[in-house]
């Protein structure tokens, strides 16, 4: 057999970079606006961005912090992508993360079993719980036409407080701080995600997340489910005529989406906190940043990976700025705000276009 060496011309290279086009545009847009804000505040944006870059990726330590931060964002971003791609516009990532993290922590702490069984059942239990939690919204939509975005949003709050109730009443760690912090005991050391290096925050969790990116890419682009869910996102009526059961796809998409978001929470328990700490997942905002990552990359998993890392970098880099310059920490929030703005603008445009389309679709026939 002869090997053919493929010559790549620039067109082909561009094709491979296509999924990154949108995130790069969105992020550049944010950086420009951020620069204007800095100029107004009389700082030199180049210097500030220089610090930011250094603080995010400039050393092994910073890089590992950024990647550790990116881990739950990637997973939550994948979760959002799976749902949104098939027109299930849920925003319940946070609730699913919380439920997943909580269930995983409780199983890991209390299940009387050998370590590896503990480990497997804790992870599986956590993600399935998150998936199941997401299915409630699917059911509410299916049976009562309750809007997915509303029900998932409510479920975020519900999840947070139900879990808090259980922790305070049944699973509170009363040893260390006398129960002042609303948190569980720690999970056994043997089963935590190992760090690559004791001094750095990075655990194997990040690499698992990268593996999940590849898995989700495969799921979206090669499998029957991937085809069906994509087509459901494109044209529901066409799917009905083609024999695709849209309801089944909705349940499946929301379940997988819940599983992935829950895994984001589980990875925080296993790699960052080693316990469930009430409020930590909310203040970390990974679910929402993940949704941003999904939106700017148009649900492309590779795009989600890259933009999650950049978004995490903006966060870690942002705290570096406040350490080295007089520019306040809030600059990273401004940048994120701009990215969200960019996304919303895109969604509005899309929504308007879709509206005109559906206006067209109301009439039969035509060319």
């Amino acid at each position: 057999m002869k090997f053919k060496i493929k010559k790549m011309n620039y067109k082909q290279i561009l094709k491979y970079l296509k999924p990154l086009e949108q995130p790069i545009v969105a992020i550049s847009f944010a950086l420009v606006i951020g620069a204007i804000a800095m100029l107004l505040a009389k700082s030199n944006p180049l210097v500030v961005y220089g610090y930011m870059l250094k603080g995010a990726f400039g050393s092994k330590f910073y890089l590992s912090t950024t990647l550790a931060k990116a881990t739950p964002i990637i997973l939550a971003g994948l979760g959002a992508s799976i749902a949104w791609r098939s027109n299930c516009f849920g925003i319940g990532g946070e609730g699913q993360m919380i439920v997943g993290a909580f269930v995983a922590a409780i199983i890991a702490i209390y299940l009387p079993a050998p370590m590896w069984i503990k480990f497997v059942s804790s992870i599986v239990g956590g993600v399935v719980a998150g998936g199941g939690y997401s299915l409630i919204s699917a059911y509410l939509f299916d049976k009562f036409q309750m809007s997915l975005s509303i029900s998932t949003l409510m479920m975020n709050y519900a999840g947070r407080f139900i879990v808090l109730y259980f922790i305070v009443n049944f699973f509170l760690d009363t040893s260390s701080t006398g129960g002042k912090l609303q948190q569980t005991y720690k999970i056994p050391e043997e089963i935590r995600f190992p760090r690559l290096n004791e001094d750095y925050a990075l655990t194997i969790g990040f690499f698992i997340a990268v593996a999940v990116v590849i898995l989700v890419w495969f799921l979206m682009n090669k499998t029957k489910y991937g085809y069906e869910s994509k087509m459901v996102g494109y044209n529901l009526e066409f799917c009905r005529f083609g024999g695709i059961k849209a309801k089944k796809i909705m349940y499946l998409s929301l379940f997988i989406s819940g599983v992935l978001s829950a895994f984001a929470g589980v990875s925080e328990v296993y790699g960052t906190y080693f316990r469930y700490v009430s409020g930590s997942l909310v203040s970390g905002r990974s679910a929402w940043i993940g949704l941003n990552a999904a939106l700017i990359s148009a649900y492309n998993p590779i795009g989600v990976l890259v933009s999650s890392i950049i978004l995490a970098g903006i966060q870690t880099g942002g705290s570096a700025i406040s350490r080295f310059t007089t520019v306040p920490l809030e600059i990273s929030q401004i940048l994120q705000g701009c990215i969200t703005l960019f996304i919303s603008a895109k969604i509005v445009i899309k929504w308007r276009r879709k509206n005109t389309n559906s206006k067209k679709l109301n009439v039969k026939g035509g060319m």
Binding site: K222, N235, R240, G243, K245, K359, V363, K364, G365, G366
Partner: protein
């Protein structure tokens, strides 16, 4: 010369959709733009209406060069277009739709009473009566189109573009529309009409421009030409009606027994008993809206019937699922290719495997073999002469007729024993029409059964071995190829009774 387009070029990537096209239009003239699917007719009009920007070329109005960079600038210059897909707000009234975007100003908000009066006056002036307070929702297609026309007239345009306006109309509505066009031209409006129906061209147009592969290949005065010459110019060969060969019919592939559908106490299908045998094309004639759509949907598992049975290849499939019906050997070319037949944003490959992607040929263990799917799509494109660059382009980038060809290709290619085709040649050119008809005959020769629903009586009569006539959800009569005749069928279609004939 009133309007002049000069040396218009338009390319989409490597595709040259318009190649050095010149067009001119006089005041009060009706110009027909004809040509094969993908010839570039819609593209040329999109350039004129500002929906697409020409790669190069010039447009002159009254001798002055004009730059059109969007529909609003076209409208300002007096160029309007009756969209193929009506752009109407369904929950708004006729008046609101017509004045939308240019409402007469009142003291604070817009002056509704004046708007209403304007619409009434406009209707009177152009002899296009409409109820100004009617809501669009539920209006017949012909009336919606009238709203569109009035909307364009309200914009005070002198040039009106119609892109395949008759494709979705009933024969009566077509007659009305053609009358309207003549009327408008008499009142000084210039009209550009795109159509595949050459008899319409002969009836209303003053002049015609023939396009092929992006180029203008002919320009003729209607009084100096005829349908034969036009069709020859369009497709580059003569279209001859083939003698239909006889095919021995086999066992029954499809049968409906007392099929009844009641929707909100209204009887939509009333004890429909029909059947199709192997080697047979059975036509359903009827004015659209007499239960044909619902009949197809109940057969195909898209709607549950109230009572009765659907039998496919001897098996009862009544009220099961689309997937089950498909798996039993039924395929469907739906009436509306944009809404039910394709996903505009999907690639040609993604569109070509819908309904069949789960078959062993395309997928194993839940994994789709896109290599096979892509090859399969290329075969469809080649066999059905779909004008396309490659199978990765989106469905929306195909011309109207070409997307129809791909949909038909998809449903025929799976060798289902029973094929339902609804309006198979809507929007395709005469060459493609002949081609599609031949494909249907081929399928019949392969001893498959075909149920044909078409609002074109000529198409029904040409293709069908047997014809059922439907009126208000009932089968009013049955004819064989030998006994079928236009007058009698037409009479039954309009609600006449068989014994009165």
């Amino acid at each position: 010369m009133f309007l002049k387009m000069e040396h218009i070029y338009k390319n989409y990537g490597d595709i040259l959709a318009n190649k050095d096209v010149d067009l001119d239009l006089k005041k009060g003239e009706i110009l027909a733009l004809v040509g094969e699917n993908g010839a570039g007719k819609s593209t040329l009009m999109k350039v004129l209406y500002g929906l697409e920007e020409a790669t190069s070329g010039k447009i002159f109005l009254n001798g002055e060069e004009v730059y059109i960079n969007g529909p609003s600038s076209a409208i300002k210059l007096g160029i309007g277009m009756v969209q193929q897909h009506f752009m109407l707000f369904n929950s708004f009234t006729v008046t609101e739709n017509i004045v939308y975007g240019r409402e007469p100003k009142g003291k604070l908000f817009f002056d509704m009473a004046k708007a209403r009066q304007d619409v009434i006056d406009l209707g009177k002036k152009y002899d296009l009566p409409l109820d100004p307070d009617a809501v669009i929702e539920g209006m017949p297609v012909g009336l919606r189109q009238r709203v569109e026309i009035l909307k364009v007239l309200y914009q005070n345009t002198d040039i009106i573009i119609f892109d395949e306006p008759t494709a979705v109309l009933t024969p009566q509505e077509v007659t009305e529309l053609l009358k309207t066009m003549k009327n408008l031209s008499k009142m000084g409006k210039s009209i550009i009409l795109i159509t595949h129906k050459l008899n319409e061209v002969m009836e209303v147009a003053d002049r015609t421009l023939v396009m092929r592969s992006g180029e203008k290949v002919g320009e003729l005065m209607i009084k100096d030409t005829n349908i034969k010459e036009l069709s020859y110019l369009m497709v580059g060969r003569h279209i001859v009606d083939k003698q239909v060969e006889k095919v021995e019919t086999g066992e029954t592939v499809f049968e409906s027994i007392d099929l009844t559908l009641t929707d909100n106490k209204v009887s939509v299908l009333d004890n429909v008993n029909i059947h199709v045998k192997r080697g047979e094309i059975v036509g359903i004639a009827g004015v659209s809206g007499n239960g044909q759509t619902e009949l197809v949907e109940t057969i195909f598992g898209l709607k549950n019937c109230t009572s009765g049975k659907v039998i496919v290849n001897g098996e009862d499939v009544t009220n099961t699922s689309v997937m089950n019906v498909r798996n039993k050997g039924v395929a469907l070319v739906p009436e509306d290719r944009n809404v039910h037949g394709s996903a505009a944003l999907g690639t040609l490959t993604e569109n070509s495997i819908m309904g069949f992607y789960h078959k062993d040929e395309f997928s194993k263990n839940g994994i789709i073999d896109y290599k096979v799917a892509s090859q399969f799509t290329d075969e469809l494109i080649e066999e059905f002469k779909v004008v396309a660059k490659n199978n990765k382009q989106t469905m929306s980038s195909l011309s109207g007729g070409n997307s129809q060809k791909l949909i038909i290709a998809r449903e025929i290619s799976q060798h289902s024993s029973f094929l339902i085709v609804s309006e198979p040649t809507r929007g395709v050119d005469i060459g493609a029409m002949e081609f599609i008809h031949n494909k249907l005959f081929e399928k019949r020769a392969n001893k498959d059964g075909i149920l044909l629903i078409s609002s074109e009586l000529t198409e029904i009569l040409k293709l069908s071995d047997r014809v059922y006539v439907m009126y208000e959800g009932e089968v009013k009569g049955e004819f064989t190829r030998e006994t079928a005749n236009e007058e009698e069928i037409g009479f039954l279609m309009l609600g006449g009774n068989k014994d009165e004939v």
